[in-house]
């Protein structure tokens, strides 16, 4: 699969000015890719356009062949009537059940699997939500602040585990953590501050696959490119 966005533009209904125009990029390799930029520049809107949740946009979003694109975000909740473990068992397809226990362990959720969702901390809630999306049959998963409220070390562990467990899947990781996107993402679509043209710039990331396996110089270069682009 590859994802192509060609001259995508979006204006909120009733708004005078477009949120963004002429956004074009292509993702040709699976792995972690990122949308990065200040709040309110259109990262979430573009993610929703790609996943089909926003239909009123112009331009072209296409994949080469049929593909399942999912969008997840950090404000999602599980229904309150059942425990986390029971819910996961019910919503994960049988073919993916084997990965559940492994992910629960890696995500540090073993102790709260019998709890109800509202009894968990915000970081735990986000991790539970991410597990159920990861274990769906999809080609591209958009993670909009999906690891918000999770500590840095656990986030790193989770991202590296996802890369190892699902190497053939595309991810678009939306985050405000510049270090994180620079380290772990293969490509970073930087949304620039309002008034700058072009509105987006693609930056190559370090795409770290193992903990500690990166060059400090390469990371510094990526960080500088991102900060200059914003």
């Amino acid at each position: 699969m590859s994802l192509l966005c060609d001259n995508v533009a979006f204006t909120y209904p009733g708004a005078k000015h477009p949120l963004f125009t002429d956004v074009s990029f292509q993702l040709t390799a699976p792995g972690f890719h990122s949308f990065f930029g200040p709040s309110g520049v259109g990262k979430t809107s573009l993610a929703k356009i790609i996943s089909g949740e926003i239909e009123r946009s112009s331009g072209r979003v296409s994949t080469d062949g049929p593909a399942t694109l999912l969008y997840s975000h950090n404000k999602e909740r599980l229904p309150g009537w059942s425990g986390v473990g029971r819910h996961l068992t019910r919503v994960i397809p049988p073919s993916m059940q084997a990965g559940k226990d492994q992910l629960v362990e890696i995500f540090g959720l073993s102790d709260c699997i019998t709890s109800r969702f509202d009894q968990l901390s915000m970081g735990q809630q986000n991790r539970v939500n991410l597990i159920r999306y990861l274990l769906q049959d999809c080609d591209l998963l958009i993670m909009d602040e999906s690891l918000a409220n999770v500590d840095e070390r656990t986030r790193e562990k989770i991202i590296l585990a996802i890369k190892a467990m699902f190497p053939h899947r595309y991810y678009i990781y939306i985050s405000h953590n510049v270090m994180e996107v620079a380290k772990f993402c293969d490509s970073i679509l930087v949304f620039r501050s309002r008034g700058k043209t072009p509105q987006t710039v693609m930056v190559k990331g370090c795409n770290i696959m193992k903990s500690g396996d990166f060059s400090r110089n390469a990371l510094d270069t990526t960080l500088l490119e991102i900060m200059n682009a914003v």
């Binding site: 996943s51 999912l70 919503v91």
Partner: protein
Amino acid sequence: MLYKRVFQFFIIYFLFLGGLMVLKYSLALSDYVIPAPSGILHTLIAEYRGYSLATLNTMTVAIIGQILSVVIAFAIGITGRQSTWLGSFIKVAAYNFQAYPIVALAPILFILLGDGFLTRLLIAAMISYFPVLLSVLGIMSKPVDDIEHFYRVTGRMRWQLEVKIRTFENLTQLTTVIAGSATLAMAGTIVGEFIAANAGIGYNIRIALYQSDLGKILIALFLIGITIAIYQALLESLGVVIKRAWTGR
């Protein structure tokens, strides 16, 4: 909850009774217009048994009518929640139907169905269904996006699940409205009985009205009030039990 409800009713009832007595003695009204406390007590002793049975009879009809109204409200609310042509048609029809005062429609039911149980039941259901319907329509039409999103994007959403999520998320509001509609169901049944039925406390009030016997009406009001207070408290307790069982809290 039960004691609180009954206690609140006693306060209101005896304040009302006190007001009547103030009116009676300040304006020197005769016992024929407003009976003295001793007269009310005598009426209570004489009519207590018959009126209690009549109130229970009315309450039974009101409870069945309320159950019927909740079922109707949920059926219409669930069908009308969608923004389809049928959904909006059902909503408009339900609102338009309510525009007619049920008291004005009641004679049609009495003419068609007679003055028995079924007519009283339908009137009770028709009067109490609308507030429940408004709540159900409001609740069922409003998506709980942060929960439903996952089911929608993964193709798992079914209407039963949608209804379950929205009901669960608005359980407190629903139980409050259902408990509140108990009063309307009781009022509806009494109105039906008052118009033309041949049983129930409303029928007894009508007879007391023809006899101009305020004592009997006051006893009837006391029994109606205390029955509704107990029924509402039971409904609220049931709501708490259901919520606790479902949410685990």
